[in-house]
Symmetry: C2
Subunit: 446 residues, 2 copies
Amino acid sequence: MPESMTQLEIARSGETTSEMESIAQREGIALKTIRAEVAAGRMIIPANKNHLAHGLKPIGIGIAVTCKVNANIGNSETVGDKESELEKLHTAIQYGADTVMDLSTGNRIDEIRTALIAASPVPIGTVPIYQMVEELDGQIEEMQPQQFLDIVERQARQGVDYMTIHCAIRLELLPKALDRLIGIVSRGGSLIAKWMMAHRRENPLYTHFDDLCEIMRQYDVSWSLGDGLRPGCLADACDAAQYGELDVMGELTRRGRARGTQVMVEGPGHVPMHKIEENIRRQQAVCDGAPFYLLGPVVTDFAPGYDHITSGIGAAMAGMYGAAMLCYVTPKEHLGLPKPEDVKQGMIAYKIAAHAADIARERPGARDRDDAISKARLLFDWNRQFELALDPETARAYHDETLPEELFKSQKYCSMCGPKYCAMRISQDIRELCKTSELVELKPKL
Amino acid sequence: MPESMTQLEIARSGETTSEMESIAQREGIALKTIRAEVAAGRMIIPANKNHLAHGLKPIGIGIAVTCKVNANIGNSETVGDKESELEKLHTAIQYGADTVMDLSTGNRIDEIRTALIAASPVPIGTVPIYQMVEELDGQIEEMQPQQFLDIVERQARQGVDYMTIHCAIRLELLPKALDRLIGIVSRGGSLIAKWMMAHRRENPLYTHFDDLCEIMRQYDVSWSLGDGLRPGCLADACDAAQYGELDVMGELTRRGRARGTQVMVEGPGHVPMHKIEENIRRQQAVCDGAPFYLLGPVVTDFAPGYDHITSGIGAAMAGMYGAAMLCYVTPKEHLGLPKPEDVKQGMIAYKIAAHAADIARERPGARDRDDAISKARLLFDWNRQFELALDPETARAYHDETLPEELFKSQKYCSMCGPKYCAMRISQDIRELCKTSELVELKPKL
């Protein structure tokens, strides 16, 4: 294959890549299915050629494969440096992050990013406008479109695998967004909106979409079309601003694909439970099945400090309805920059959401680990339960809090019910009874 | 009204009670609606006459009113005493428990129960068979039906507001349950199953259902028909044992109502997300709209230590589809007896689930607190956000972790994005721009 072809272009030509092969193997899905999904744009393989050359293990993101989880890390102007971000990267990967976004907005962005890419076997995503505004010292309205293209080119060369770019927030949508309860909550979206208001001109990332495609295609950077107008509270969900931007995303999905680039679409945000299915169905229809990458959604605004749970509920449902990737939310959301422990808690909540979604989609083998842990429960094999647990350390610690001695690891009960009340032990006694005694009195009644 | 009439009988007679009035006020619903719902058996008011006389604040449980949350407390043979259980009661109520079940199975059950009832303004539920087996020193097969009736009568006299009794696990269902991956996981269910196996006779709680109704009616104790055959893992969900027992519950719902008692029905347990709606619809149809009280359900078995989250997801969805009450699950589920901090974490997860469900059901006013907190976010009124938060202490602590000084409480950013990247601040700047400058260039395009 010519060096310059993207995964999408190769798939369309009827050929496969070693990345598709490794995804087929990892997902237990036929290679031809992977190829067909990539060719149709329903799956992306975010794999920058420069990251692939340096240890990236490719993954597929799309409705045909397991639901993926992204962890956001990155410093802010007030907190975080290279070491803290590398620690968060390792924590995120340890707990199963499929991709990691570096959202750094503070100092030494290039240094942090190159260190993260070098250290990361998973795809790295960025939001280039953060570096842009950093270089403009906060004066986004001074941005020239060429400056933005240069930043995207620089990050692409560094090996970024996918980029969130807010191309779809068009000028005509702004009044709709400003009528909302809390307006624009996407950082990138608000910066572009400010630029548009200052110049009274169309979004330059929209007008330069084709130029951006050229850069993306060259390195095979995947699009993550940013939803600059995602609702930031339940009151603003599913409004004209959000769905108006989604329509533009549909147009850009088709244009991006036509230019050989891989396209994923971002989604909300804050959505009440009964509107989540509508959001997924609409995106699937409007964006011709492009992988949908959701932030949450948070299903109630009243629990800051627990938004990994409020959004884990929404994320699990989104995954069930067909979201391809879930962007985690940590307990610090709306309150402060997450630390490694917050990254862990966010990851745990989202691995639960993605796994529950895979089960609900009845993916082959999705329930195997659940069934294995259930069998270990039945056998009172506590050590096996801990091994199979999403977070073995915590499961063991909770059990040992009341029954620490090793002998309890083989006991047929835990401190929840104690020995006399363990239903599973009694249930086993009954099975034994059944084996040894006559069941005729039971059976005729069936 | 005659002293001996239940809320159901009074409602059916066309009259109302002061309990119905206070529920109508608390829920913001017309008194006649409350009366009609109680009369139809779609709402119960678990209010033992002896608890009412001692400080109970009555609540309604049913599809017409807000989704309720129950917290389970109680000691086990290995852990817990009266003081620890009173502490858990206070923690549960502090975080919003609508009812509390005392599931004590250890020592001094009567003493703990009477202390809890005296201290509790919320309805108290129990599972009388736990005390039964305690008194039989674990030998449930020695139980005579009259002994069980006596325990129920004793607990009713003490003021218990609702009781979980496993009347619906019939003999003919046992072989179906024993074919499962992990059999019977309900403690009460397994005890009754053992009794039936030992005697080769029908469930005595089924055969003595009418006698039990007599006691329940006398004190107006509400039924919580226990689901002894609820699935204990995803692999066993929605099987013939579970649904067979549900059919018996439908029969008992009608018989209980006919005898003037208020009936609620318990549900699973462990159910994958895509089967939750089916569970709710089926219960509604089979049990003629009797309030459905679910334990979770847990939507994946692979995360012990985080089952407040795995089940919070299922509970929120169950609430959306029409569950009347959600029984919380703490992080210690499957691992050990919860402590007060676990009670808090379980309550938080379930208040989130119930509230998200109320929003999804579009109950009038359900979103008010969410909108108020969103407005406080827009105004950067950090103290107001904390005040409105489900757990103000934690929200404040998370914020203050990186920006502790009081001056940051009025700053237009937090450490997540820092001052330059706060989308809401930028969004406000744009609104200001709109106020002062001409928007004609934007508006014609709309």
